[in-house]
Symmetry: C2
Subunit: 299 residues, 2 copies
């Protein structure tokens, strides 16, 4: 029952990301030798080699990859513990809702209005964040609940209720040859090399192949689209409030996007339950989150 210290976990995650002792030490604000020593001690205590030192950089072993994933989860849980405790102690007890800036605009408005009517204006706070950051915020305790999208976001470890499902459209400059069509296919858009599709990072941080620019913030893509330098595929409801100069054309074979409310699995908070109740009344699909009362064990 040896227990790893958070310092060791942080050290290992950093070095596993950098694959370089000196740079990792720099990021950690410390010198390289103690870092070497700490990792060596960690390996000795676990009885497992975590890194292969190759004189030219460092490589993760299989065990090292396992530890990287698990250590990230553990560090998330630790900072969630700190964050949630701190917030539980402070007086302002409002729920924090994380949502991607610019997405699900109208639904968010309706939700805020409904929640305000139901529970007063002070009960919820909205935290706008970048693409895909909601999961991180929920896991670290920086938010209690988030608006997310399937099959886009990483929903592992969360309970959810679906709010609505919709088709996707491509945002095109008004003068683009496809702009007058009623619908297009994904294949047609990929052939359009004059204005290529923007490429978002996948869940693992890598980018799909293609001619388009790599983007990872809302403001980047907003500018690129406004300049007519990139195409963008988004849920139909997101098209109205931005890019009024552009055309929106349905993409027939893009997956339908389900907007949903997500929160950490097993959260027993009454405030979240109340919010879910309100939100479920808004959407146009059935919810299926698991927040029924728990049955007693055995019998």
């Amino acid at each position: 029952m040896l227990d790893l210290e958070t310092r060791e976990l942080r050290y290992f995650v950093t070095i596993a990301e950098e694959l370089h002792f000196r740079r990792a030490a720099e990021r950690l604000g410390m010198a390289q030798p103690p870092l070497s020593r700490a990792i060596a001690r960690l390996e000795r205590r676990l009885g497992v080699q975590l890194l292969e030192r190759n004189r030219r950089g460092v490589k993760l072993t299989d065990a090292g990859s396992v530890l990287l994933g698990e250590a990230r989860k553990a560090l998330d849980a630790i900072s969630a513990a700190a964050e949630l405790t701190r917030r539980a102690g402070t007086s302002r007890q409002s729920l924090i809702l994380a949502t991607q800036a610019g997405a699900s605009h109208e639904l968010l408005q309706r939700l805020l209005e409904a929640v305000t009517n139901e529970h007063g204006p002070e009960c919820m706070e909205v935290q706008l964040c970048e693409v895909g950051e909601q999961a991180e915020m929920l896991r670290s305790g920086a938010a209690d609940v988030a608006i997310m999208h399937r099959p886009v976001d990483d929903l592992i470890g969360f309970d959810t209720v679906d709010l609505c499902t919709e088709d996707q459209v491509v945002i095109l400059p008004a003068i683009h040859p496809l702009a007058r069509r009623n619908e297009v296919t994904f294949a047609e858009l990929q052939k359009e090399h004059s204005v290529p599709l923007a490429r978002w990072p996948r869940l693992d941080g890598t980018y799909p192949d293609g001619p388009g620019p790599e983007v990872h913030t809302q403001s980047q893509i907003a500018q690129l689209v406004a300049l007519g330098k990139a195409l963008l595929i988004i849920p139909a409801s997101s098209r109205a409030w931005q890019w009024p100069e552009h055309a929106a054309v349905a993409v027939t074979d893009a997956p339908r996007i389900t907007t949903l409310l997500a929160w950490p699995a097993g959260s027993r908070s009454a405030a979240i339950a109340g919010l879910v109740q309100v939100a479920s009344g808004l959407g146009d699909t059935e919810g299926h989150g698991d927040w029924a009362p728990r049955l007693p064990k055995g019998g």
Copy 2:
């Protein structure tokens, strides 16, 4: 972004359980003053009062209760990290299956046989455990996958596939007045004060009210039932292999029990996927675990 140390978390969990500094220090194998100091420092760093010291014992504040729950999760994640890493580094890579001793006997036999046929005899190891311990083993990394039951076990944070669903029976001494009946109701059994129903702890560790003995291990209940000192309600399939002298009578209004395979949510292990595949072929209900390939993000 202050990060709590595992030592602090362990200290706090212990003291929150004992609600007594000296006893907690004893359990931790240390003296009381450093423990007081550590908790005080923790409160100062979080900026939140965790305990109310009342001169007559200690009470958790609201923030303290939050931290207790979150700290337990974090400590689980940490020991899972250590355990899984250690096992990833050792050569024997077989899956560890946790199952409650005595439950789902026949299904377990079939599963083992099928897995052996499919993937060879060395690919799985069975870890028998006490009632409800499976969740803890999965969370701490001591097991990769578990046979569990709904609505009995705590399934939060796990992905699952259902294997089978069945009615429950009550195990009665052969001479018991109800033993010749075809079926009984829960109410009838509760009225039977001569041989009362055994009481299992609930998920939170408390016991339901009633005249029967409090039990928490398989061997306890086996002995009590064999002696005719307690009644026991269990899934129908569990009745055959134990207590051959006893009668089993269907309980019409007991909830049906679903036996399922559970594993930590989001686990991407190919070995688990293989096992799930085999197991799904065994049962008589459809699976609904979430282990489909992940879709790339964005459009």
